[in-house]
């Protein structure tokens, strides 16, 4: 074992039915370093992490930890934890029906008795020291996703750990929260903890990491010092090809001319029970617009109100100039609106059903109870969309739950497209997805718009919004506070607007 290494994984192999997820992968983590694990979706990052944390057993290979001469065997997450390996996963793995304090201490108390007072007090202390705005006695489900994620991190940090794994911890955090997390990570680094950081955000890698290990298609591409690997090269390594990073995906796409027709969708004083202020909104044919704002500013709630996903309390809605009533998702679907929800796991996928069934679901519901697609028909449709969106799946009958996050997202996107909507709402379609797929989705959005589809695109990454949207609706504190038109769109103006500067 290398000197000052806390963890060494050698020749790791792991395969699933039909897929070789990891082939001969080596990974070394040193004391007091933040080590980025990079790769596209399906490159094997998550699998490697899960092997390390005992969620999956490895097929072959060895794992060494500092302080033990022999190879360690990690057969369960409990083993990993006992060995000082803590993890915070991309998808939150806490119990939403328990309080924050219970989540912090679950599975860690010794003996049968619980000292609630002390548990709550200690939790309160930890939350305070990390500046997390939650109460110890609050139910976890009542916290926002960002706060739930921070509680998960707080829990992992509080455990006395040598190796901390952060699997996409920042994908649901806003910039401020990310900065807080980075401060914390750096502090832990100075204490000698080795941190494995999995993320899709390149800027973040260059902000905090010391080393990068790149995986591609389940194989090791290499380990690099951060200073030796500029961004463009990193992307090239991840994709296995050169990619001009500053590609302007917009040029060359014809824009659709609405020619003064009535807006495809128009809302006046729309209000829902999700606590947003009544708002006005419209979108023209062939337009791409977006809601921007910090997390919790009400972007998602706004589109949910449009789609009827929350309980609509008031307001007028028009489609193509005609007044319609949208009180539940089915109404919206019938009026030609499709919606890709923000929380893929909870609101998007039907986990145990096949890719095929997941793709046809929306249009099947629209077709009606008595008109099912025949098996052959649905297989053909599914294959068509698997091809079109380049979904990586063993077959049309594979359960969607076993696909990687990005591919699950593509299936949901296929579901939306199959309904042939006039107006497509995409809430964070690129969350937790690799950079190549992100580009693909942005290009697809622009292509659809050029063919006359109207798209509302929401993303936490301003880059993506700038790439795709010609108009941004700015939200702050659950209120629409302004609008940015094409000529005023820039990183600076967006930052300014969502942060509360003058929007003019």
């Amino acid at each position: 074992m290398k000197e000052n290494a806390v963890l060494e994984m050698k020749h790791i192999h792991k395969s699933f039915p039909g897929v070789k997820a990891l082939q001969n992968v080596d990974f070394t983590l040193c004391e007091g370093e933040i080590h980025a694990l990079m790769g596209e979706n399906g490159a094997g990052k998550s699998t490697l992490i899960k092997v390390l944390t005992g969620v999956y057993g490895k097929d072959q290979g060895e794992i060494f930890l500092k302080g033990s001469e022999k190879e360690v065997s990690i057969k369960s997450p409990q083993d990993a934890q006992n060995l000082g390996i803590s993890t915070v996963y991309q998808e939150i793995t806490l119990c939403p029906n328990l309080t924050v304090a219970e989540n912090m201490f679950i599975g860690r108390s010794k003996g049968a008795s619980v000292n609630w007072k002390m548990m709550n007090r200690k939790t309160e202390e930890i939350l305070q020291s990390l500046d997390i705005p939650a109460k110890a006695t609050q139910l976890l489900s009542s916290c926002s996703i960002a706060i739930q994620q921070m509680v998960a991190i707080a829990r992992a940090v509080d455990e006395d750990c040598k190796v901390l794994i952060l699997d996409e911890p920042t994908s649901s955090l806003d910039d401020q929260e990310v900065q807080k997390l980075f401060v914390l990570m750096k502090e832990l680094r100075s204490k000698g903890v080795g941190i494995i950081f999995v993320t899709h955000f390149l800027e973040q890698v260059y902000e905090v990491c010391d080393k990068i290990t790149v995986l591609r298609d389940g194989k090791l591409v290499g380990e690099y010092e951060i200073k030796d690997l500029p961004r463009v090269k990193l992307v090239a390594k991840m994709l296995g090809k050169d990619l001009d990073e500053k590609e302007d995906i917009r040029s060359g796409q014809p824009t659709f001319d609405a020619q003064g027709a009535a807006p495809v969708f128009e809302a006046e004083g729309l209000k829902s029970n999700a606590g947003i202020q009544p708002f006005n909104f419209y979108i023209n044919k062939g337009e791409v617009n977006g809601f921007t704002g910090l997390l919790g500013s009400g972007r998602s709630e706004s589109v949910r109100a449009i789609f009827g996903a929350d309980h609509v309390l008031g307001g007028k809605v028009k489609m193509d100039g005609k007044e319609v009533k949208i009180s539940k998702p089915l109404d919206a679907m019938k009026n030609g609106i499709a919606y890709l929800p923000e929380d893929r796991k909870a609101d998007g996928i039907i986990g145990d059903l096949s890719v095929r069934e997941n793709i046809i679901l929306t249009s099947q519901v629209l077709k009606g109870f008595f008109h099912p697609y025949s098996k052959a028909e649905s297989v053909k449709i599914a294959e068509e969309y698997i091809d079109l969106l380049d979904i990586k799946t063993a077959s049309t009958e594979t359960p969607i739950g076993s696909l990687s996050g990005g591919n699950q997202q593509k299936v949901i996107l296929a579901r939306c497209l199959l309904a042939h909507p006039e107006y497509l709402i995409l809430d964070e379609p690129t969350r937790g997805i690799d950079i190549g797929t992100k580009m693909d989705i942005q290009k697809l959005v622009l292509k659809l718009a050029s063919e006359g589809m109207s798209v509302t695109f929401i993303s936490s990454e301003t880059d993506e919004m700038l790439n795709t949207c010609s108009r941004l609706i700015v939200m702050r504190d659950r209120k629409v506070v302004g609008e940015l038109h094409e000529s005023e769109l820039s990183q600076g103006s967006i930052m300014n607007a969502i942060a509360g500067g003058e929007t003019e």
Binding site: P329, A346, I349, G351, P372
Partner: protein, 366 residues
């Protein structure tokens, strides 16, 4: 040489996919029972032609008994599968609601007189009224579960407790007896046909549900709702209605089972009719390899599961097990089932399989 190896691995793969398939569980259970009987007493499989008390030529034998008395269970398994898949819980009131449906049939057929000389209404009318009653019971359970979000077992506990009293109340606590012979056709034999009618009724129900599953989206809707309610809602489904619907369908199944039950004896015993059948119906769903927590389901496996349970019951009767002792034996099956389908055991089995394979390979090389 190479060819034979390829062939062998084909066999192995086919075997693997069979074992991986859900329907393997009831088939394996059935095979175990068959092997047991082949060893103990092959005459178990004998089918004889005989005459019954009514003077009809009918088939008799243990197999016929299984097909006959397993009918109600198979019909209930259909509805129970749907309820389980959609709501992630079970209806424990089916036995009691069978009593209600049966009582309604007798009430309509007898009118005000509890021992009429002739039927006071056509049997089909009585049956349709029972269907409405069964569906109302299902709707009651369904509303509690879907609308008020009460756990299915708790919600159905109400009718489980009250059902038999309601059944008795429908007939003023009297025990009507039907003397009309045509009424027995549904629970016994139609003259000239040597196979018991309940079997045909069960097959008709199986056929109907097969057609419904083929020509509607019932399967997709129920599975979606059972797996992810939130996502189903965003795709335009109404989860509450889908759950409600599954309970109503079970109510319909209950009515059909109720008709068979009262037709068998031309009367009713409120406290005994269809006693403990809910446990068998749930067991059938479980034996079919369906997750009792809801989600995906396999209807064929459930129905097969129902007949396997009946086969077990009949086997136990054959070996003179007291009916009071039956549940104890069935409990053994439940234990075996639950343990074998536990993920931990499956994993261990897979590991063992790998080891055996490795050893074999090593042996071949040597």
């Amino acid at each position: 040489m190479g060819k034979t190896i390829a062939k062998k691995s084909d066999h192995v793969n086919a075997l693997k996919s069979l074992i991986g398939n859900q329907i393997f569980i009831p088939i394996a259970a059935l095979l175990l029972l068959v092997i047991f009987h082949l060893i103990m007493d092959p005459s178990f499989f004998a089918i004889k032609m005989g005459t019954n008390s009514a003077g009809n030529a009918v088939l008799s034998g243990y197999l016929i008994t299984i097909l006959d008395s397993g009918s109600e269970l198979a019909i209930l398994a259909i509805g129970m599968t749907l309820v389980t898949a959609a709501s992630g819980g079970q209806d424990i009131s089916v036995g009691a609601t069978i009593a209600i449906a049966g009582s309604v049939i007798l009430r309509v057929l007898c009118g005000t007189n509890s021992r009429p000389d002739s039927l006071q209404a056509p049997i089909i009318v009585a049956f349709l009224v029972a269907c409405v009653a069964g569906m109302l019971c299902g709707a009651f359970n369904g509303i509690l579960v879907a609308k008020f979000k009460i756990q299915p077992m708790v919600a159905t506990l109400i009718l489980f407790t009250a059902g038999r009293s309601i059944a008795a109340w429908i007939n003023n606590n009297e025990l009507p007896v039907i003397s009309d012979k045509t009424f027995t056709y549904f629970g016994e034999y139609i003259p000239g046909i040597p196979i018991p009618t309940p079997f045909f009724i069960a097959m008709a129900c199986v056929l109907v549900i097969a057609l419904v599953l083929k020509f509607t989206n019932l399967r997709l809707y129920i599975q979606s709702v059972g797996i992810n309610e939130g996502a189903s809602k965003l795709n335009g489904l109404n989860p509450a209605f889908v759950k409600f619907l599954s309970f109503v369908i079970l109510g319909l199944c209950v009515a059909v089972a109720g008709l068979i039950k009262v037709s068998r004896i031309s009367t009713i015993n409120y406290s005994v009719i269809a006693k403990d059948i809910e446990m068998d119906a749930i067991l059938a769903v479980a034996l079919g390899g369906n997750a009792l927590g809801g989600g995906k389901f396999n209807m064929t496996a459930s129905i097969l599961g129902a007949y396997v349970i009946q086969c077990l019951t009949t086997t136990l009767y054959k070996f003179n097990v007291q009916s009071d002792a039956l549940p104890a034996y069935k409990a053994v099956v439940v234990i075996a089932l639950v343990v074998f389908s536990a993920p931990m055991v499956k994993e261990k089995a897979a590991e063992l399989g790998k080891k055996i394979k490795k050893n074999k390979k090593a042996g071949e090389v040597a």
